[in-house]
Symmetry: C2
Subunit: 481 residues, 2 copies
């Protein structure tokens, strides 16, 4: 029945070690750390916390401290005591509903920098209008499209082929967004105990999915190069699968160069590792660089995942998989117990967008470049001791903080009406490393950037100066799950 998992005191204590905030009374610091872990999804709602005594033993804190910390969590609505069954984390959803990664601000003047996703680009409404002209032919069918709308599969295949990756429409499965594509692939390809090479930091929901399927993650070392070939050669022989994001890697924005693509593909092929390549951000090259060839150019057996949600708009739940033919029917069969197929209207919109082979609307890259530059400029001005990358594509900046306090910053930012995703969420096996980082999606229009970064700077100031953080705003927490 309804799952209530119990968190052991030792496990909770190890999660908290990752945070390093050090201001205010001990009970509040403890409560804040637990709150961070709940907010970033490491502790799911419904989880039973260890007893106050067990937590005191595991952390070395006094019983009074753990008891008061739990009281503080309860008083802000983040935990409930169930008679006879301890303290259970409870995160109510607000009317606008949201989750950690897709957190919405609850204050009317709030700002979210959680999802790397902006409003729809100019011209989107007229794209929809054009697409709807093709509606009648689809309406004459029952609308179920388990592998995808034929014209969309054709156009996607033609685009792959034009990019140097020969692809037949039969090799394409249209999915309900890239997340659903990854989820289908994991269901079909991963068996418990399989070892999967991943970047040392990356997209949390992909890691979560792999872990739930029972995979063992083999993260590459974290450093300036997300794909160190020597380390890859060391882990590849024990891996069955690799899941990589070579094009504007999320969250760091790194782009795998052409020689690295060749070397990585050769290394993985030598060990017979099946590779899933997530190209969700590939279309969003906004710099003046020349894009390297797609990864699959070096490994024709690579399974490629793409999406229209980033290039066009997140409200379109359209992703796709390019896979060897032998895998396609298995994927389609797997989705019969999941979603039966992908929305026909959305598929028409993306097929129409691809009419001339280019999915990104005119002007969108320039717009994103302006947003990136405005955000980078404001962060440089308000927070001069932060180090920022300057990615040539994708949707977010990657900040390195001078102090390891990303989770505390996330808590403090809430009081400023600013919702963030704490750095540790991007580090599957070593969350502590994430305390030095923050992902900053450059999705706000330039005129809103200064206000948002001002809030960020105020929150940071409070964290580093050790000021007690303001009273928790229950309305804000309401919107995080």
């Amino acid at each position: 029945m309804e799952r209530t998992t119990t968190l052991s005191a030792r496990r909770l204590a190890s999660m908290l070690d990752a945070s390093e905030d050090g201001t205010g009374p001990a009970y509040r610091r403890l409560a804040d750390r637990i709150r961070s872990a709940v907010m970033d999804g490491r502790i799911p709602t419904g989880t039973r916390l260890p007893s106050e005594r067990a937590l005191a033993e595991a952390t070395g804190l006094s019983r009074t401290t753990t008891t008061r910390a739990y009281e503080a969590l309860r008083s802000t609505g983040l935990a409930r005591t169930r008679h006879g069954s301890g303290t259970v984390v409870h995160v109510p959803l607000g009317a606008a509903g949201s989750t950690s990664m897709l957190g919405r601000p609850s204050r009317p003047d709030g700002v979210a920098l959680t999802a790397a996703a902006a409003e729809a680009p100019d011209g989107f409404a007229s794209l929809v209008e054009r697409a709807m002209r093709s509606l009648p032919a689809v309406l004459a069918t029952d609308g179920y499209l388990p592998d995808g709308l034929p014209i969309l599969r054709e156009r996607l295949a033609a685009r792959f082929t034009a990019q140097g990756v020969p692809t037949d429409p039969d090799q394409i499965v249209v999915t309900t967004g890239a997340q659903s594509a990854l989820s289908l692939l994991v269901a079909v390809l991963v068996r418990p105990g399989d070892r999967v090479v991943v970047e040392g930091c990356g997209y949390p929901h992909a890691f979560d999915m792999l872990s739930r399927a029972g995979a063992r993650l083999l993260p590459l070392p974290v450093g300036d190069d997300p794909w160190p070939v020597d380390d890859l050669a060391r882990v590849a022989p024990s891996a069955q699968l690799a899941m990589l994001v070579p094009d504007f890697h999320n969250p760091t924005g790194s782009l795998m160069g052409s020689p690295a693509r060749r070397a990585v593909a050769r290394t993985l092929a030598a060990s017979g590792v099946t590779t899933i390549v997530d190209e969700t951000l590939r279309d969003l090259a906004i710099g003046d660089l020349e894009m390297p060839e797609p990864y699959a150019h070096h490994d024709p057996n690579a399974i490629v995942v793409g999406s229209a949600a980033k290039s066009l708009w997140g409200g379109l739940r359209i992703g796709w998989i390019r896979a060897p033919r032998s895998l396609v029917s298995k994927l389609v069969q797997e989705r019969m117990v999941r979603d039966l197929g992908t929305a026909a209207l959305d598929q028409l919109v993306v097929a129409t967008a691809l009419e001339h082979g280019e999915i990104v609307p005119a002007g969108r890259r320039e717009d994103l470049r302006a947003r990136r530059d405005a955000l980078a400029e404001a962060v440089g001005r308000h927070l001069p001791d932060w180090r920022l990358n300057r990615p040539e594509g994708g949707l977010s900046l990657w900040a390195t903080l001078p102090v390891a306090a990303s989770s505390s910053l996330t808590v403090a930012a809430q009081d400023e009406g600013l919702t963030l995703t704490p750095g540790p969420r991007f580090f599957p096996t070593l969350p502590a490393l994430g305390e030095r980082h923050l992902r900053l999606p450059f999705v706000l229009p330039p005129e809103q950037v200064d206000d948002a970064v001002g809030r960020l700077a105020r929150a940071w100031q409070r964290v580093v100066s050790g000021q007690p953080q303001g009273a928790h705003d229950p309305d804000t927490v309401d919107l995080i799950a």
Copy 2:
């Protein structure tokens, strides 16, 4: 890595027992039976068949018979021999792609009676047009709607409330169709070994999903009443969950009466069983009956699943869950590793359709009634010894055949260019019972019905007269996965 499951000889033999066709050479009968099991999804593509010798031992057939049967499967492209790893079922997808339940005919003149789904109703295009007027407000957001578009959640909640099931918008999660709703619920609620009460026959993909989650099915006995309360009272104490379809039960079309609703709800509540009610077909009452109150009227804790795919159009991947608030945030969290949210355009269309509370377009019920009556009339004329129900709602007739030969009929029908779903697919634990049944969706326009039923009657004639079935058409098989 890529899953290849091996089917044991004993298991394959037990699947084949369910078929009772008895004409033509033994090897072809064996091949046809295996083909049926592949076609209806009981043997998934990629499955390794037992060796010819093991199958001969398990079935009592000669080695020559099993060898020739496998050859026949290979020659029609339904199986492949992999060097050193035996015979593997392989079902290529055609360009139009499809699966057993959503099978498409491959011949240009072909007809499918697999999905209980028709073309979009009159007025659908103008509904879309009206909905798109509300697009700008949604386009101003990032489009991610993890729990659903607020206006749609409000209208669904108001509709539940108006039907006697008080519901707050916070209790609604909009999903990517009803299948995705069930899939989310199973992921959150079912643990391996949980016992789940289900109807003795029902929707195959729901059973498949429960089985994959490790649930143990407790099917109610099959009979004229799908919900025998005495039997329910017997199994309920050992169950954690029940999954029921009280409104035009799929596939039988049965409607649970008001007193039965009360009795079933009371019985399940007495044992503390959580109940999932699938109301996907509830809106499609096409008879003159007065609809009983919704099941949840008797059990306010019931989790209700609904969908727009049947009432409106299958191309809209919109379903929903009404759940206790405590469950909503868990469901939203679970979908973070699945699809992140549901298509915004589709949600706008359904919200617009619900503007006045009624989701089914004017004229659709009359249209479906005409289709039902035309199909029933034609079956009565062409196949007078078949017994048909005459459901007061839903989308399909349920036929009882005078001879247990549903799987053979499905094979024979292929040669007539008619795609069917064999009866055993609807019987999770006793497929043999399904050989006496066939689901006939009344989705064809009346003018196409006579041709389709003519094909059905010719196929049936060949089955009962023991005529050898015509050569297998590889094009037809191409389209079944």
